[in-house]
């Protein structure tokens, strides 16, 4: 019986992988459902086991079974590792994704699984924390905070009870690495969390998954049940979000697990000292926790050897939006934005020129192609007025209206604001209105009160276009410095970058010097 491998990842299923799998099963094949290899353009992807290894074909429809099985199908790719999208990758975290049955404990163990946990158990907690520090791993959830230092704080805080919380809220548009890993290699995340538990002295962990990821929720539930005895005495449970983007912010997430409204807490106290139910808590992104098994199994140096500047190790970069070869590309830091978008991503799907890319989700800056020389590195992006965030890159072609995107950023902030602080809650709505006026070329006129005779100092002339733009910058400044968390604080990134790099979309002249400032 021929064995074929077909992904059960949510993206593959959305593209029809289930009907393809059924067709192969009907033809008498043994169908193994895996995670996704990570290149959407070749999904649904079918890999056929042969004496010469797995041979890939894609995209494949349910009517293609015969041509695939006799090897004549035109979409023959060959061994997947030789495909240009995969040959340049360094898969530390996603090594097994797309290769094994995600829920096979045997498959996991046979492909290097549990090596990190076993290595960790042979070490003292402090030695594990030291290894994570030595690897240079920084949080993959957005802020890039050194993971080892966070763990040290939790280890050093005495308490009867401590927690490991995995942030699987992945709300950023243009990101899907957390989802793919949970669906495609769930034991890997479980292993990372069990290592964290050993390192800081925590017995219990929570995985907070957004409700928009039903496949990941189901897979993690099942994987936790299967791995329970392997990670003892550590225990895990899944908690499901309820549609609030702000619950990805760590303190809001903790409140949500506690059963409250997901409002952001003021810091300090840090969650590492007073986190879930006031107990010391490690809260890390899926990818941060999933980087740890490699670090323990292969040694921190093997991880630190890869990377760029102070950004060590690999990053599962997600190339999304209007792009030809969208998908997941895990590689060491340091490739340029242009290489990622044009060489690896293959330019736009529409075939039109790239006009802008947004890096780091809805709170990330927009960059024009003139900045494609930027290396993918935390510091380089911060210097250029942006952020890497969760490493999602959203590509737009030249039909994009950047004033619309700036407005959307404000609108998104207004929709998702937790409401705790005024610059974010009110400022985002005022910002939306302001951009509407700017685009409509209908600047604000004096209102009834301002025109009262006793209001001697109030201006009575309508604002000019430039004054409205100035006001928008001023509002962004207030939001940036006056917001409690990065939702209100970083919404100015997409807005100001759109304004700086694409002023013509706001009805202003393009001044190159302004962009360089």
């Amino acid at each position: 019986m021929t064995r074929v491998f077909i992904s059960r990842d949510m993206a593959s299923v959305a593209l029809g992988a289930d009907t393809v799998a059924e067709a192969f099963a009907k033809a008498g094949c043994e169908v193994v459902r895996t995670g996704s290899r990570g290149l959407f353009a070749i999904e649904p992807l079918v890999e056929v086991e042969t004496d010469a290894g797995r041979i890939a074909y894609g995209p494949i429809g349910p009517g293609d079974v015969k041509a695939v099985l006799d090897g004549t199908h035109a979409n023959r790719i060959g061994p997947i590792g030789e495909h240009p999208f995969f040959s340049g990758q360094q898969r530390f975290t996603f090594a097994r994704c797309g290769v094994i049955d995600p829920l096979s404990m045997r498959g996991y163990a046979a492909n290097g699984g549990w090596k990190g946990l076993d290595a960790a158990h042979a070490l003292s907690p402090q030695e594990v924390v030291d290894a994570v520090k030595a690897s240079g791993l920084r949080g993959r959830g957005g802020a890039g905070f050194p993971t080892g230092i966070k763990w040290q704080t939790v280890l050093d805080t005495p308490a009867h009870e401590k927690f490991i919380v995995c942030n699987a809220d992945e709300g950023d548009s243009g990101t899907f690495a957390d989802r793919m890993l949970m669906e495609g290699d769930p034991f890997h995340l479980i292993e990372g969390m069990a290592i964290a538990g050993h390192a800081v002295g925590a017995r219990h962990g929570f995985i907070y998954i957004r409700s928009e990821y039903p496949f990941a929720v189901e897979t993690m539930h099942e994987a936790i049940a299967r791995a329970a005895s392997r990670i003892e005495p550590f225990t895990l449970e899944v908690r499901v979000g309820a549609g609030a983007y702000v619950c990805g912010e760590e303190t809001s997430l903790l409140d949500s697990i506690e059963g409250k409204r997901g409002e952001v807490r003021a810091k300090p106290p840090l969650p590492a000292i007073e986190g879930l139910w006031g107990k010391p808590t490690v809260i890390n992104n899926v990818l941060s926790l999933s980087a740890v098994p490699f670090i323990l199994a292969e040694g921190p140096q093997a991880y630190a050897d890869v990377g760029f500047g102070r950004s060590r190790g690999t990053m599962p970069i997600q190339i999304a939006g209007n792009v030809k070869n969208g998908g997941l590309y895990e590689v060491g830091f340091g490739l340029t934005l242009g290489e990622l978008v044009n060489q690896i991503g293959g330019g736009t799907a529409s075939g039109r020129p790239v006009r802008a890319v947004q890096v780091g989700g809805p709170l990330g800056a927009y960059f024009p192609p003139s900045m494609f020389h930027l290396p993918f590195d935390y510091e380089a992006f911060a210097e250029a007025g942006g952020l890497i965030g969760h490493a999602g890159i959203t590509v737009f072609d030249d039909t994009v209206d950047m004033a619309k995107m700036a407005r959307f950023a404000m609108e998104f902030c207004a929709v998702e604001s937790c409401g705790k602080c005024t610059p974010c809650r009110i400022g985002s709505t005022r910002g939306t209105e302001l951009i509407d006026r700017i685009v409509a070329k209908a600047p604000r006129k004096a209102d009834t009160v301002e025109t009262l005779p006793q209001m001697r100092n109030a201006g009575t002339a309508a604002r000019t276009h430039d004054e409205e733009i100035e006001l928008l910058r001023d509002l962004c400044d207030t939001m940036k410095h006056g917001s409690l968390c990065a939702l209100g604080g970083f919404t100015p990134y997409p807005v100001l970058s759109a304004l700086d790099h694409f002023p013509e979309d706001f009805g202003s002249a393009h001044v190159h010097a302004a962009a360089a400032e």
Binding site: L15, A242, P362
Partner: protein, 154 residues
């Protein structure tokens, strides 16, 4: 079984002494079972978890997923986030709204279909994307809109 007894069964399953932070899992379970969080369940929840009704209401109203009205027979959650916009999402949203005769964020008067916004489904290179009654659908074009409309009218 009276309606309240039905709610109570679900509540008792989740309001266990060793279940910390039971409210969200409980609300999800109620919604799974009854399609929405019925108003009469609120005092029962408050009672079981030793919370005030206001606290329970505050949580229900904070999270977009929780509904206090019965859902439409079909629910379309269309992604409105940036990567789907980059692939023509706004135009598809307009077409869908027109075909279904319902505005974004609303349920149609006859209760047949609701069009809800969602901000990213994690399928960002194959948009515009949607969940049709929980089933993921990708690369929605004009033909896709028509197929969705046919499906939810049936």
């Amino acid at each position: 079984m009276t309606e309240n007894a039905g709610f109570q069964t679900v509540i008792d399953r989740h309001a266990l002494p060793d279940q910390r932070g039971a409210l969200l899992p409980l609300l999800h379970a109620l919604q799974e079972e009854f399609g929405h969080i019925p108003q009469p369940a609120v005092p029962l929840i408050a009672d079981a978890l030793n919370l005030s009704r206001a606290e329970v209401h505050g949580v229900i109203s904070f999270y977009p997923d929780f509904h206090t009205e019965p859902p439409a027979r079909h629910v379309i959650k269309l992604c409105r986030a940036e990567s789907c916009q980059a692939r023509g999402g706004a135009a598809i949203e307009g077409e869908l709204a027109r075909h279904l005769g319902v505005a974004m964020g609303h349920a149609r008067k006859d209760g047949q279909v609701a069009l809800e916004p969602v901000y990213c489904l994690g399928l960002c290179a194959i948009g515009p994307n949607a969940l049709i009654d929980g089933r993921p659908v990708a690369r929605i074009d004009t033909a896709g809109v028509e197929a969705i409309a046919r499906e939810v009218e049936a």
